[in-house]
Subunit: 157 residues, 2 copies
C-alpha cells in the first residue's frame, strides 16, 4: 500500500462519496439504485418486476385502458409492453377484453386474482418503502416528495 495510486486514493474526499457528490443528479442516481434494489427484492416475492408491478397496479386502478394508453402511462414503447401483458395475462392476473366498436383495441381488465395480487404487492411495497425511508423524519419524507413533484411538473421532458 505504498504505491502512488494508493497514496492518492488515500487523499480522496472524506465522505467516501467521491468527487461527483456536488451534482444533484448524482445524489438522485445513487439514491435511486438503493430504492430500486429494495423494490426488486420485495417484488421478487410476487414474481413481479418493477415494470409489471406498475402495469398491474395501473390496470387494477384504471381498468379498461388499452395497451397504447398503458404504454403511455408507463412511459415505455407499446411494442415493449406486449411481453409484459403476455406475462400478466399468462398468469391470469389480467385479461385482454374486446372493446365495443373497435376490434383493434384490447381493454385491459384485472382478474380477481390480479386484483388480490396487486393489493398484496402494493401493501408490501408501501411497507418496505416506509422501512427504507425510516431514516428520514416524516417531515423530510414529505418534503422530499413535495420537492420531487414540484421539479417533475416544472421540468418535465
Amino acid at each position: 500500500m505504498t504505491d502512488a495510486a494508493q497514496d492518492i486514493a488515500g487523499n480522496a474526499p472524506q465522505g467516501g462519496d467521491g468527487l461527483l457528490a456536488g451534482y444533484i443528479g448524482y445524489g438522485m442516481k445513487r439514491a435511486m439504485s438503493i430504492v430500486q434494489a429494495d423494490l426488486s427484492r420485495v417484488l421478487a416475492d410476487y414474481d413481479l418486476r418493477a415494470v409489471s408491478f406498475s402495469a398491474l397496479s395501473i390496470i387494477v386502478g384504471e381498468p379498461g385502458l388499452t395497451q397504447t394508453q398503458l404504454a403511455d402511462a408507463l412511459q415505455i414503447e407499446r411494442s415493449n409492453l406486449v411481453t409484459i401483458i403476455d406475462e400478466l395475462a399468462g398468469r391470469a392476473l389480467i385479461i385482454r377484453a374486446p372493446v365495443a366498436h373497435d376490434r383493434r383495441r384490447h381493454a385491459l381488465m384485472p382478474t380477481t386474482e390480479g386484483r388480490k395480487l396487486a393489493e398484496a404487492a402494493q401493501h408490501s411495497v408501501a411497507q418496505h418503502e416506509r422501512a427504507l425511508f425510516a431514516c428520514l423524519t416524516v417531515a423530510e419524507q414529505a418534503e422530499l416528495q413535495r420537492i420531487l413533484q414540484k421539479f417533475r411538473l416544472a421540468a418535465k421532458s
Copy 2:
C-alpha cells in the same frame, strides 16, 4: 371517446400523474429520467456518456487509481470498465500508466487534453443542472441534496 376505456381513463387522478405517485420511489424515478435525459444531451457535445464522464472526472480528480478502484468508485463491474477505459484511452484523454512493483495494475492518469475536456464538460454539466433545477428555490435545491445524502448514507446497500 365514448367507450368504457376512455370513460374510465377520464376518471384518472387529477395531476395527470398516475396511481403510483404515492410512492417516493416513483417520484424519484421520474425525476431521475428527466435529469438523465438532460445530462445525456449535454454530454453528447463532448462525445461522452454519463459513465465515461464520471470515470474521466474521477480520474482527473484522483489520478493514479487502478481500474478495480475506479470500478468500485463507479459501482460497476471491473469487466465492464474495460471498454470505457479503452474508449477514453483511445481518445488520448487518459493513459494506462505502469505501477511500480506491480505489473498487473494500471495507474489511470489523465492527459492534458483529458483534464481540459473534463473541466469543460464539468462546467457545462453544472451549468445545465443549475438551469434544470432553477424551477426549485435555492433552499429547496439544498434541502433536496441534503435529504438525498442523508438517505443515501443511512440506507446504503
